[in-house]
Amino acid sequence: MSTKKYRFSPIIYGLTQISFYLLVIFIVILHLAPFLWQVICSLKNVDEIYSLPLKYIPSKISLSAYRDLISNPLFLRYLLNSILISLSTTFFCLLLASLSGYALSRLSLRFKTFFQFLLLIACLFPQIIFLVPLYELMANLKLINKPLALVLPYVTFSLPLAVWVMTGFFQTIPKEIEEQAIIDGFSRLKILTKIILPLSRPALATCAILIFIGPFAWNEFLFSLSFMIKDTSRTVPVGIALLSGASMYEMPWNKICAACVLTTLPLIIFVIIFQKRIIEGLTRGALK
C-alpha cells in the first residue's frame, strides 16, 4: 500500500507526511520508553538511583554494572543456556507445527477433531497447574537440570499458537498447486518439503518470532526456576531474579537493568534477522 498522492495541494501532502512521522515517533517512544529507562538506570551509579530529584541523564556514566555482569561467567552461562533452549524450542516447534498444520489443513483425518481439542485445552489452562505434575515427570525421566526438561514443555505449549498460524496460512495456499504436483507424480512428502514449505517462509518467520519471544521460550520463568536447579543449568530470566545486592532485601537496580539490556540483545538481533525475511518473503508477492 503506497501513500496516496494528493493532486491538489503539496502543502496538505507535506502536513500529512509530517503528522504521520510524528505519530510514528510517538509510537516508538511509547514502546521504547520503559526500556530506555532501563538503559539509563543501568548506566547510573548505585547511589544515583535513589537520589531525588530524578536524574534523566546520569551525571557520570558508570559501566560497573555491565562489567560485573560480563565478568560473571555464570551469567554468560545463563545466556548460553537460554539461547540453546530457545533455539531448540523454536526449531522443533516449527517442525511439528508445520507437519501438523499441513495435516490439519489438507487431509481429513479421523482424529482431527480430537487433536484440535487437545491443542485447545493445552492453552486453556493456566500454567501454574502443570508445574507439579511436570516436575514429577521430569524427575522420573531423570531430566532435571537438563535442557530437554524445558524444551519438551516449551514446544508443547507453543504448539497451539504455532499450529493455528501454520494451518491458517496453509489454507490460503490454493489446492491447485498440489493437485498439479500430484498429477506430475510428486509424492505427498515431496510436495510438503519441496513446494509448500518454501512458500511458507513468511508464516514460518512470523511463527518463529512468536515462539522465540513468546511466553514459553526465552522469557519463561516458572518452569525454568523449578526444573533447572543447578546454577550452571539456569536460564536468563531466573538469573536476573537471582541478582542480589549487598543485603538480603536489596535490589541492585543498576545490575538488574543492565542484565535486562544485555538479555534483550540476542532477541533484538533475532528479530532484526527475521524481520528482514518477513519483508523479503512478502515482497515476493502473492501466492499465485
Binding site: D47, Y50, S51, L52, L131, V132, Y135, E136, A139, K142, I144, L225, S226, I229, K230, D231, V238, A241, L242, S244, G245, A246, S247, M248, Y249, E250, M251
Partner: protein, 412 residues
Amino acid sequence: MYKLIIITSLMIASSYFSCYPQEKTKITFLGWPDPGGGFEEVISDFEKENPDIDVEMIKGPTSTDTRETMYVTSFLAGEATYDMVFMDIIWVPKFAKQGWLIPLDGWFKEERKEFLPGDIQGSIYQGKIYRVPLQSDAGVLYYRKDLLEKEGFMPPQTWDELIKISQKLQNPPHLWGFVFQGKQYEGLVCNFLEILWSFGGDIFDKKGNLILNSPQGVQALEFMYKLIHTYKITPEGVTTYEEEETRHIFQEGRTIFCRNWPYMWKLTQEENSPVKNKVGIIRIPHKEGKNSFSTLGGWGFGISKFSKNKSACIKFIKYITSYQAQKKLHLKSGIVPTRKALFSDEEILKLNPHYPDLYQILLSAKPRPVHPEYAQISDILKRFIHKVLLGELSPKTALDKAELKIKKVLKE
C-alpha cells in the same frame, strides 16, 4: 559408518546411565544468594573436616515466596532434590504437618537452651522440634540520634512519646516522623503484630482461642490508621512500602523513626550513607502501661523426609549452627546469630556496639502464631489490615470480618 553411529550412541547413552562409585555423600539445600559469602566459607570449612561429605548450597532467588515454592514443588513430587530445608520460621508448622520434615528431638535436646527461646519456640510443632535455628531476626525501631539529641529528647518508650517527638521535629514531605512496612505482604503482619502486642492484645490466647477481635485489636488498628490520617506522622505511601523502601527513606534522611529488621544497621553505617553515625536502635514502643514485643523472623535448618543421607545432614547442621560457624557467618555476611553466647563475644561486640540492646530485644521477641494454616490466616489479616490503612474499612468491621474468615479456616 554404522558402527561409528552405534558406538557414539552407546557412549552418549552410557554417559546418561553411568554411575560412578559413590565415594562421597552429597547433600544439598536451597539457600539464598549468600551476600558476603559466609555460607560458602563455612561449607568449605566443613568439607575440609569431613572429606567424605560434599555439601552443595543451591543459591535461590532473594524472594522468600519463590524459594518456598521451589521446596514445595520438590516435596509434592516426593523428590530428594533437597536433603536439608533452610526454612523461614513460618514454614515449620506447615511443612511439619504435611510430614515433609523429620523430628530432630533425637539429637537436639540439651543444646536447645543455648539458643534464643523465641527461635526455638518457633521451631516446635506439636511438641516436636523440626528446625535448628541459624539466623535470628526481630523488628526494631531505628531512630535519628542526632535529631533527638539536638532537641534534648530521650528515645521514646511509648507510642505517645514517639508521636510527640515526631510532630515536633518532622517537616513533611521532606522529613517524616515514622515509617514502617505497610504494603500488603507478610511484613505488614509483622508490623501489625508488634503494635497489637504493644496494646496488650494477641491473635490467639495460650489455649489457642481466637482473641483477635478484642478492644485491644481495635485500638491497634485504629492506631495504625491514625498514624497516617490523624497524627499525620506517616506518609500515605506507606501502604506500598516493603523493607527496602523504608530503608532508603531512612537512609536518605527523610524520616526520624523507622521500624525495620536488624539488617538495616550495617547499611546505614556504610561509608557513603548520609546517616552514618547518626543512628540508634531501641525496642518497638508500647502503649502506656503495656509491654513491647518484637515479631520474630529468622531461618534455620530442617531435614527432608525424602533425604537419603540423613546422618550426613545431621553432621552438617550441627556444624553450621555451632558457635564458631555462626560467628563466621556473622562476620562475613552479617547474619544475626541464634546462640545466646555469641552476643557476649568480644569481636562481635566491637563491630556492633548495639548488640547488647538487640539481644534484649531478641530475648523477648515472639514468633507469629505457630499454626499449619498460618499462611491462610496471615493472608486474611493482610487484606483487612491493608483495607483499614487505606481507609476502606473501619477497624471494628475489619476485625469482625477477619474473625469470621479465620474461624472458617480453623474449622477445616
